[in-house]
């Protein structure tokens, strides 16, 4: 994929002896392995998406995307992200403030609990809401008696999405705010600012790029979530189908071109997310949390 020319690594200081770097053939082998592996596992699937999307021509592509069911799936995906991402932002900022600005008992445990959704299978994340709100669920009878619909409707999809995207903003902000310490806020307070002003004019500008980074990842997952949403959605075409679920339905109907057309929009979203994320890392690397990892 990239230029096959291999340039030797130049360290900061003069130590180019063979013993501290690999021999040229070894380097070449490692680079070929890397490119082949990434090419087969990452690049090819991405190319396939766009290739299949346009396999039947531009006409079929636009027709697939303007189909009423596709359009309602796009609307639902945008709606679900528009509700769940802001809620997780409020939670993330609030949890980061409590955890980074204060020392209290049980803090490490609380941080672990926030990461919990990452170690739960998406299907289980959906299942837990079925067990609560389903017809045989804990609150099922009560909800039915009061005419409240959560499962197989938008509220259920939103809840499942919030569950799986729960940690993204918090885990980006907590290490960042811990690194920055309390000095700036203490100065603002001693100069007469109140708590809100200290947060709004001091903390928020300090963490804005980290916050954006977390929101970016949170949004990508919210719009792309499949397993959890699949369990709670009920797959009602035109009503409770999000974009990823619509991709599945079209694909299972052997309408591959349409499935890949919708998939190409999601792949486009992923690419935009990656570009913005890389730009943030390049431009504001120092203002993002140093300790990261999913």
């Amino acid at each position: 994929m990239a230029d096959p020319e291999i340039k030797s690594y130049t360290p900061h200081h003069e130590s180019q002896s063979a013993a501290v770097t690999e021999s040229r053939p070894a380097k070449a082998v490692l680079m070929i392995v890397t490119f082949a592996f990434l090419g087969i596992f990452l690049l090819l699937p991405l190319i396939v998406v766009f290739n299949e999307a346009f396999a039947k021509g531009l006409g079929a592509y636009t027709e697939a995307l303007t189909n009423p069911d596709t359009r309602s799936a796009i609307h639902l995906t945008l709606l679900v992200a528009a509700i769940s991402v802001p809620l997780n932002i409020v939670f993330g900022v609030s949890a980061a403030w409590a955890i980074a600005k204060f020392e209290f008992k049980g803090k490490a445990f609380l941080t672990t609990l926030i990461d919990l959704p990452f170690s739960v299978s998406p299907v289980i994340s959906g299942l837990v809401y079925v067990l609560l709100f389903g017809a045989q669920g804990l609150f099922g009878a009560w909800l039915k008696a009061h005419g409240i619909v959560i499962l197989f409707a938008v509220p259920g999809i939103v809840l499942a999405t919030i569950f799986v995207t729960f940690p993204f903003v918090a885990r980006e902000l907590i290490p960042l705010m811990q690194e920055q310490g309390n000095g700036d806020e203490e100065a603002a307070l001693s100069l007469g600012a109140n708590g809100w002003q200290a947060f709004w004019y001091v903390t928020l500008p300090n963490v804005k790029w980290g916050l954006l980074y977390g929101v970016l990842l949170c949004n990508a997952r919210a719009m792309g979530e499949f397993g959890a949403v699949s369990v709670v959605s009920g797959h009602i075409r035109g009503l409770t189908n999000t974009m990823p679920l619509h991709v599945e339905i079209l694909y299972n109907e052997y309408n591959a071109a349409a499935a890949f057309a919708v998939a190409s929009l999601l792949a486009g979203l992923a690419l935009v997310t990656l570009v913005l994320k890389t730009l943030l890392e390049m431009r504001y690397g120092a203002e993002l949390a140093a300790t990261r990892g999913h």
């Binding site: 990239a2 680079m31 203490e186 947060f199 792949a267």
Partner: protein
């Protein structure tokens, strides 16, 4: 993550001039409880209500056992593959300079950003007998799509960034002087890598393995398209939960979910212990 040093008398929190502790902690705890803790306890409560005999019958059902074996087995193999190739990828990205390095580096995060269903149908198309890679492998007698091998391929895709992104920052921190010392003392390059560098990277590699493995066990979207989903052969545990739910067999769905959760937590605990051990050993 530092807890405050013990002071005279027990105190829930250290005094601070910063306001908003009650509000932010209260809101965070309420939100965490409503969204995560109550629903998860519901799952535990439901499976406890099943009764031991029913639970045991579901857990020892051949189909359940096979699904769990397939999920954990394929996730293990995929995580091992990612440990090998992920470490090589990280090494090349950290140590070598080549045109387009930044783009390749950014690409590694693709599986984090690409919705799993999209990855699923793309990989299936790629490895189907008529697909670009499937048609190359078919004459060799290798079938990927609709077999357990397909599950492994999907999980390699999903898990790759976990290993690279865990190992990469630790590699960047390696002091080159250590390698120079090893070389000066007569080690060849292979010895330096195997006996000096790799032990230092071991905790990060184990962590990357654990993350990729945990993610792979629970993965659903990218797998169901390529797996073929034959009961006893290529049916993963999350899919069996969905099937039981669609049959309105809440008891079986709950029991399998509880087993998966318990097994994942045991695995994470074991891996945590291994990590602590390797940190002490090679720290």
């Amino acid at each position: 993550m530092t807890t405050a040093p013990a002071k005279a008398g027990w105190r829930f929190r250290q005094p601070s001039v910063i306001p908003g502790f009650g509000l932010t902690l209260g809101f965070s705890l309420a939100y965490l409880t409503l969204i995560i803790l109550i629903p998860l306890s519901g799952l535990i409560w439901r499976s406890a209500a099943l009764g031991w005999a029913d639970f045991w019958a579901i857990a020892t059902d051949r189909r359940t056992i096979n699904a769990l074996e397939i999920s954990f087995g394929t996730a293990f193999i995929a995580a091992m593959v990612n440990v090998v190739f992920g470490t090589i990828v990280a090494w090349v990205l950290v140590r070598y300079n080549f045109p387009g390095r930044r783009i390749v580096d950014a690409m590694v995060d693709l599986p984090f950003a690409l919705p799993t269903a999209v990855a699923g149908i793309a990989l299936t198309t790629l490895y189907a007998p008529s697909g670009w890679l499937g048609s190359l492998l078919a004459p060799l007698g290798i079938k990927v799509a609709y077999t357990p091998l397909g599950i492994v391929i999907a999980l390699i895709f999903i898990g790759l960034p976990f290993v690279v992104r865990t190992v990469q920052p630790i590699m960047e921190e390696i002091d080159k002087e250590v390698e120079e010392v090893a070389a000066t003392l007569g080690a060849n390059r292979f010895q330096t890598i195997a006996r000096v560098l790799l032990p230092g990277l071991a905790p990060a590699i184990v962590t990357g393995f654990a993350l990729a493995f945990a993610r792979g066990v629970g993965e659903y979207g990218s797998v169901i398209f390529i797996a073929g989903n034959l009961p006893y052969k290529s049916e993963i545990a999350p899919l069996l939960i969905v099937i039981r739910l669609e049959e309105y067999n809440y008891a079986a769905a709950t029991a399998i979910a509880a087993i998966m959760l318990a097994l994942s937590f045991v695995m994470l605990l074991v891996i945590n212990l291994v990590q602590t051990w390797s940190r002490k050993r090679y720290g």
